[in-house]
Subunit: 437 residues, 2 copies
C-alpha cells in the first residue's frame, strides 16, 4: 500500500527525476554529441531541458541533429508538464483516471472541476502544437532565406518550441544576439514565450469568455500584471543600459535599442534567451533581472519562479493591510488560504535560492558573489540566463544547480511538502497576541 | 487642523528626522571633532547614532570627548525611542496624553492597554539605566585596570550604553577585535545587546509573570527564537570560518575561537560590534550574516530589521499551510491581521533593501556587488557591520544610506503607510479564485 501511494508533490518530483535520468541516458547515446560527454554533463543538460531552464554546461551546437532532437523532445515534455502528459497518456489509452491521478493533474493544472479535465488536457496539447506551428512558420520567413530549407526550418522549429516552452535553449552559442535588431525574430520569439508563460487556465478563460468583463479575477490579474511588469522592466533596463557600449549602447539604431530593451525585459520571466551579452550588463541591471527571474510567469504555465500571481497577492495583502481593508482585486476578495499559500511558496523560494547560493559560495569561492547569485536565481526560476560561469563551475556546484532546477520546476511548494509532516484536521486555538515589525 | 494632525508613522519619521538634523548641528560644534567635518559627514554620523546603526564615515576616535558625549546622548535617545521619550516628557510635565499621542506611544511600544502606558514608560527608562549601569561596572573591571580610572570608566560607560541600545559604536576603529578573546568583554557586551534586543514587552512580561507557563505567546516565541537562531548561527558561522586564517583560524585557543564565533553569530541582529574583521569573512558567512541582519531583533526593542517575530510568523504560516492547519504557536493561534501585517513589514523591508542596493550599484559601481549588498542590509537593519566601504562611498551613496537607516529604524511599516492611501472601512467582496505557485 504505502510504497505506491505517493503524495502529489512526491509523484511529481519522482516523475521529473526519472525523466531527467532517462534524458541523460538518451543524450549519451552514440551519435548524440560531437564530443565526448561526461555523465554529469549529460544529466545537467537533460535536467536543464526537462525543467525548461536553458542553463548549459556545453553549447547546444556541440550536439548532433539527433542530440538536438532529443533535447527538443525533453523540452516539449517538460514544458507541457509531466502531469499533463501522464494524464494524456492515460486518456489516450481510454482509461479513466484513478482518483489519485486526478488530484495530481488537478494540482498541476490548477483546475477545480474534475469534469473539465479531459477537455483541458486536449486543449493544452492542441493549443501548444498550433502556437508552435505558427511560430515555426513565422520564424521560417526569416531563417529559411538565410540558412536554406533544411537548416532554416530546423532552426525555426527548434526556437519556436524552445520559446513557447520558455526553455531558452538556442542552437547558437550567443543565443539570439545576432538577431537583436530583427523585429520578426525578437517579436515572434518574445510573443511565443509570453503566451506560453501566461498559463493555460488564463488562456482557456480568454478563449471561452472572450470579453474582459467576463474574465475571472485570475485572468485579469495575470494579464494586467504581465503588461505592467514588462513595461516597467523595459523602461528600467532601457535606462540602465542605454549608454552601456557592451549592451544597448553598442547597437546602432533607436529601433534596435528599443527591441533589445524589450527583449531583455521580458526574457527573465522565465524564457532565458538573450539578445545582448548578459555578463556585460551593469550590476544594477543584473539585480533587476534577478528580481524578475525570481518572480517568474503565470501559474500552471511553461514558466517557473514563485509566479506572478504569488507576487501580486503578497503586494495586494500588504496594500490592504496598510489601507485597513480586505485584500481584493477586481471586485473579488483573496481568501486566507490563498494568502497562506502565497507565503509558503515565496518563503520556500527564498529558502531554496538562499541555500543554493550558500552552497555555491562554498563550492565555487573563486567566482564573484554577483555571478553566483545570478546563477542561483536563474536555476531556481528555471530561466537559463547566466553571467557566463555555468561551464566553469565545480562539479559539486553543478550538482547543486541540477537539484535547484528540479526543485524550482516542481515547485517550491512541493519542497515544502517534504519538509513538513502533514496532519489531517488540526486543533483550533484561542487567538494570541504577537507584535510584528 | 490638517497640518498638525500627522499620522503616527508621519510623526515618528518627522521626529527622527528633526533629531538627526539637530544631532548633526551638535556634532559640528567647535571642539566636537579633532578634524574638520563636512555637514553630510556630521549628518551621516548623527543619523547613524540616532538610528543606533553604527555605520561610520569617520572613526569615533576622531571625535573629542565632547563629541563622544554628544554621540552617546544621541544613541540613548534613539535607542529608547523618540516615542517613549516624547511620552515621558509629557508625563514628567504632569500632562495627560492626548488621544493622538496615546496611539503614537501604543504603536511604538506595542502595548494594548492604555492604563499600563505610564507605568511602562517609567519601567523602560529605569530598566535601561539599571542594565547600563550594571554593564558599565562589569566592563570597568576589565578596562579600568587597563586604561586607568577616567579613560577606563568612560570606555566602559560608552560601550555599555552603545551595546544595550544595539548601536554598535565603539571608541576603537577595529571595534572589539582587540578583546576577541576576553570572556568578560565579549559576554557582557553580547549580553547587553541581546537583552536590549528582546523588546520591553517581553522583558516586562518576564518580570511580571516570572514563570514560563504564564508567559504570553509573544514572550515564548521571542525567547525560543532568540536562543535557536543564535545557536544555529554560531554553529554555521563557526564551521564556515574555523579555518579562515583572517578570522577564526587566526585566533589561538579553542576558547577564543568559540567566543569569536558566538560574538559574530549574535552581533548581526542588530548590534553591529565585531570581534573579527568583517571584510575578511568568506562570502558564505557574509551571506548568512546578511540574512541575520535582515531578520533583526525583537519588536519594540533597541534592535531593528523586520523583527524576529515577523520572521517566525511567516515560517509558522508556511508550515501551517503545508500541514493543513491554522497558524499557531504555544497553543495560541495567529490572527489573519497579524499575518497581513507580517507580509506588509517583510515586503517593505525587501523593497527598501532592493531599492538601496539598486541605487548603490548605480552611484558606486566601483564597489563589488557583495560589499554593496552587505552595506544595504546593514543600513536597513541599522546593524552597522560593514565590509569596509562606508567611508569610500560616493556622496549620493552616503545620502541613500542616511535615508535607509532612517526608514529602517522608523520601520518598514511606516514607509508603507506613506506609499498607500488609507481608507476607513472598505468594501467586502465575494471570494475570487487565484492560483499560487
Ligand atoms: K528558461
Ligand atoms: K547597530
Amino acid at each position: 500500500g504505502r510504497v505506491l501511494r505517493l503524495s502529489p508533490p512526491e509523484s511529481l518530483l519522482l516523475g521529473f527525476t526519472l525523466l531527467c535520468l532517462l534524458g541523460s541516458g538518451l543524450l549519451m547515446l552514440p551519435g548524440a554529441a560531437t564530443q565526448p560527454l561526461a555523465w554529469h554533463q549529460a544529466l545537467f543538460t537533460a535536467t536543464s531541458a526537462i525543467t525548461v531552464t536553458g542553463l548549459a554546461v556545453m553549447d547546444t551546437s556541440s550536439f548532433t541533429t539527433l542530440g538536438q532532437v532529443i533535447l527538443l523532445v525533453l523540452i516539449q515534455i517538460g514544458g507541457l508538464g509531466f502531469m499533463t502528459f501522464g494524464a494524456l497518456t492515460l486518456l489516450l489509452l481510454g482509461a479513466r483516471l484513478p482518483l489519485q491521478q486526478q488530484t495530481l493533474v488537478r494540482e498541476a493544472l490548477g483546475e477545480t472541476s474534475f469534469g473539465a479535465l479531459s477537455q483541458l488536457v486536449r486543449m493544452v496539447v492542441t493549443f501548444a502544437l498550433v502556437v508552435e506551428a505558427l511560430g515555426t512558420v513565422l520564424l521560417a520567413l526569416h531563417w529559411v532565406p538565410e540558412l536554406g530549407w533544411s537548416r532554416g526550418l530546423w532552426a525555426s522549429l527548434f526556437h519556436a518550441v524552445s520559446a513557447f516552452n520558455n526553455a531558452g535553449f538556442s542552437l547558437w552559442p550567443d543565443s539570439l544576439t545576432r538577431d537583436a535588431g530583427n523585429p520578426l525574430v525578437t517579436l515572434v520569439v518574445s510573443g511565443l514565450f509570453i503566451v506560453g508563460g501566461l498559463g493555460f487556465v488564463v488562456i482557456s478563460d480568454v478563449r471561452e469568455k472572450r470579453r474582459w468583463g467576463r474574465f475571472s479575477m485570475q485572468t485579469k490579474v495575470v494579464l494586467c500584471a504581465t503588461l505592467a511588469v514588462n513595461l516597467v522592466a523595459m523602461l528600467a533596463l532601457g535606462c540602465l543600459e542605454w549608454h552601456n557600449p557592451a549592451t544597448l549602447g553598442g547597437l546602432e539604431s533607436l529601433g534596435d535599442k528599443l527591441q533589445a530593451a524589450w527583449f531583455q525585459a521580458v526574457t527573465p520571466r522565465t524564457a532565458g534567451f538573450n539578445s545582448v551579452d548578459t555578463a556585460a550588463m551593469t550590476d544594477a541591471s543584473s539585480l533587476l533581472t534577478m528580481l524578475l527571474m525570481f518572480i517568474g510567469g503565470g501559474a500552471s504555465s511553461t514558466a517557473s519562479g514563485i509566479k506572478l500571481t504569488t507576487f501580486i497577492v503578497l503586494i495586494l495583502v500588504a496594500r490592504a493591510f496598510l489601507r485597513g481593508t480586505q485584500p481584493a482585486a477586481f471586485g473579488r476578495s483573496i481568501s486566507q488560504q490563498t494568502v497562506m499559500k502565497a507565503i509558503a511558496v515565496a518563503l520556500s523560494g527564498v529558502a531554496l535560492v538562499f541555500v543554493t547560493l550558500l552552497v555555491l559560495t562554498i563550492t565555487d569561492s573563486r567566482q564573484t558573489f554577483l555571478d553566483l547569485a545570478f546563477e542561483s536565481v536563474s536555476a531556481f526560476g528555471t530561466v537559463g540566463l547566466s553571467r557566463g560561469i555555468t561551464e566553469e563551475l565545480s562539479s559539486p556546484g553543478q550538482w547543486m544547480l541540477i537539484l535547484t532546477m528540479l526543485l524550482g520546476r516542481v515547485g517550491p511548494l512541493s519542497l515544502g511538502y517534504f519538509l513538513a509532516t502533514r496532519r489531517t484536521g488540526g486543533m483550533r486555538y484561542a487567538e494570541g497576541h504577537i507584535q510584528i515589525g
